[in-house]
């Protein structure tokens, strides 16, 4: 309880500027006592803005001694920057005076004697006295509260995600830069507005009810458990969000802090993850399916082999023992059975090999391709069907690969080249290669019948033949085997040709670009 002194109102009876004594109204005594007795800082000013009463709490608030303030204009208690506008505001108040808080929504400051600014809250009440209309201003030092607010503001500003502080009526009172960025507004566009502007229109109607029920039992929790939440940006676009709510109690009342996370990116990442998981699962499925197919074709071919062998063997026995008893037509029919059974046998064996190549583990070593190719060419030359073929073998780069499988590749490509150039004069087969970055590229070129590029896509498929088998023997598995091997080596194979002007087959393998 402040001590009641008379000096706060003593000597206040003369105008500080002109010395004119004021008439002392009897009620002034009472007023002075009441003002002094009030538990908050109070100043009373007259219509012209002169301070008439200053209680000791108000003196303490502004740092003045008793008697220093009475008779001064009230503007001396204002920071410089507000002084110019203040008389007009004062006058405005006088015209429609009623009890109300001053400076609605704005931060108010008083000027301490030592020059520092004190955040204050001011309530204004008109006082009708015999000396005219006075204004009583009740002042609350809100430094501490401001400091608390400031802490909150700093915390919210520093948060790595969007944060919005909403008062109990749903008005936005604070937001951080992340919230500005997320919703595309500046904070001045949002301060004081309802939080509903950040909601899609379809969700606004139920929101007030939800807010009210939250305030009845406020607790820190996730909002919209189980539902997908959306915010709406300034440009009208919606953004998927997650919201955490925390109640914040302040002297100014109940606030709710909404902590908002933009989950668009997470959703995107999630969908990518799901997609890639799907692709992986699909790959595994495809691989399993592929393995199944391989072993299926292996066992089918394998089981076909025995009866085919029996047909061929029995036909051969028949031929050996009874050929003389057949007439010419009988012998022809028997020879067709034999040659067809034989062809079936070759087909089955090649399918088995194709299937085995697909399953066999690769034994990768660094290969001297040139000596590999020369060895195979020598073998071919020893056989009668490569007689007269001219081979040009250039220096070949080394590559990594499975020796046995690549031997098969070269055998197939070279014997193809020989086969299809047999009718040229002279049949010529050229083999060369080069390094291409980390790859080695090889080419086998002949001057044979070639093929129509229109059918190039069929070249490497099983059983595809671009030439009549009467003209060129073969099963159509050879190039499929070549393709399979190269693909398993992560290489590439392609062909180039013109009908009647030879063919060129090229393939690439991983290599180390050196001749070591």
């Amino acid at each position: 309880m402040p001590e009641i002194t008379s000096n706060s109102i003593a000597d206040t009876s003369a105008c500080a500027a002109c010395g004119t004594p004021y008439a002392r109204a009897p009620e002034s005594e009472h007023l002075a006592l009441i003002v002094e007795a009030a538990p908050i800082a109070i100043v009373v000013a007259d219509a012209s803005g002169l301070l008439r009463l200053v209680n000791s709490l108000a003196q303490a608030l502004f740092g003045y001694d008793s008697g220093e303030l009475v008779g001064q204009t009230i503007e001396m208690l204002l920071p410089e920057r507000f002084r110019g506008a203040h008389p007009a505001l004062r006058a405005g108040y006088m015209e429609a005076a009623s009890p109300r808080p001053m400076g609605a929504g704005r931060d108010l400051f008083g000027l301490h004697k030592d020059g520092r600014e004190v955040p204050i809250e001011i309530g204004l009440s008109p006082l009708q006295t015999s000396e005219g209309l006075f204004v009583l201003a009740a002042l609350v030092d809100i430094s501490e509260r401001k400091q608390a607010d400031e802490h909150l503001r700093l915390i919210i500003d520093a948060a790595p995600n969007a944060n919005i502080l909403v008062d109990s009526s749903g008005r936005i009172t604070l937001l951080n830069a992340e919230a500005e960025r997320l919703f595309g507004y500046t904070r001045f566009e949002l301060l004081g507005r309802s939080i509903d502007v950040l909601l899609p229109v379809r969700l606004r109607r139920g929101h007030a009810g939800l807010r009210a029920s939250y305030l009845l039992a406020p607790s820190a929790r996730r909002m919209g458990a189980g539902r997908e939440l959306f915010g709406v940006r300034r440009d009208g676009s919606e953004v998927p969000i997650e919201i955490g709510l925390s109640p914040i109690n302040t002297p100014k009342g109940q606030f709710v802090l909404a902590s908002i996370i933009d989950i668009a990116e997470r959703k995107h990442a999630e969908s990518l993850r799901l997609a890639s998981a799907g692709v992986l699962a699909q790959n595994a499925e495809l691989e399993a399916l592929n393995n199944e197919l391989e072993s299926f074709s292996y066992s089918v071919s394998h089981d076909l082999r025995a009866p085919a062998r029996a047909i061929h063997g029995y036909a051969r026995m028949l031929e050996k023992r009874y050929a003389q008893e057949f007439d010419a037509e009988g012998q022809r029919l028997l020879s067709v059975v034999l040659s067809e059974a034989s062809r079936m046998g070759v087909l089955i064996d090649e399918i088995l090999e194709l299937s085995r190549l697909g399953r066999q583990e690769l034994r990768i070593t660094s290969l001297d391709m040139e000596s590999l190719v020369r060895g195979i060419v020598n073998d071919l030359l020893r056989r009668s069907d490569a007689n007269g073929v001219v081979f040009h073998i250039e220096e070949l780069p080394r590559a990594f690969g499975d020796l046995v499988q690549l031997q098969r590749v070269w055998e197939n490509l070279l014997s193809n080249a020989v086969k299809y150039s047999r009718k040229s004069t002279p049949p010529t087969v050229r083999v060369w290669g080069e390094y291409d970055g980390e790859k080695a590229v090889y080419h086998v070129e002949d001057n044979g019948v070639g093929f129509d590029m229109k059918y190039a896509h069929k070249l490497f498929a099983v059983f595809q033949r671009l030439h009549a088998s009467a003209e060129f023997a073969g099963t159509g598995v050879g190039l499929a085997i070549v393709h399979r091997v190269i693909v398993r080596h992560h290489g590439r194979i392609w062909a180039d040709s013109k009908v009647g002007r030879g063919a060129r087959f090229s393939f690439s393998l991983l290599s180390v670009p050196s001749h070591g």
Partner: protein, 138 residues
């Protein structure tokens, strides 16, 4: 000891394959005995009771006791451990080849499709294995 006292055992459950092999042996003019059994149990029984057995041509995939079991059984028995056994089978799977040799096979031949080749192979095997343990004639 002449060929007539020597016996080759064919262990094969496919009658056509058996007949083809018999044909191949005849083509190679083998004049000893050729015996046929249809599964592993019969093969082991025959081997333990016939000291004249000088070559077993063994299929891998058979009912009852399969080829690998026959091999292991033969190698574990003192009386049969030194009889040459050549696997003659349809399987060209590397795993089968490895397992056969690990179980004590002396040879592994994938049944040739062509009867001429079969004949060649059987002839060559016979010539080799029937002579490899023979005491040279004076």
């Amino acid at each position: 000891m002449d060929d007539s006292s020597r016996t080759i055992l064919i262990v094969e459950d496919n009658p056509q394959d058996t007949e083809l092999m018999m044909y191949a042996l005849r083509e190679n003019r083998f004049d000893g005995h050729v015996r046929l059994v249809r599964d592993g149990v019969e093969a082991i029984a025959f081997a333990t009771s016939n000291p004249n057995l000088c070559l077993m041509l063994l299929d891998l995939k058979m009912p009852r006791v399969d080829g690998i079991d026959v091999l292991q059984n033969m190698r574990a028995n003192e009386r049969t451990c030194c009889i040459p056994i050549v696997i003659l089978t349809s399987s060209s799977q590397e795993s089968d080849i490895l397992e056969a040799y690990r179980s004590g096979a002396n040879g592994y031949v994938v049944k040739p499709f062509d009867i001429e080749k079969l004949s060649e192979v059987v002839g060559a095997m016979g010539a080799y294995w029937l002579n490899v343990n023979r005491v040279p004639r004076r």
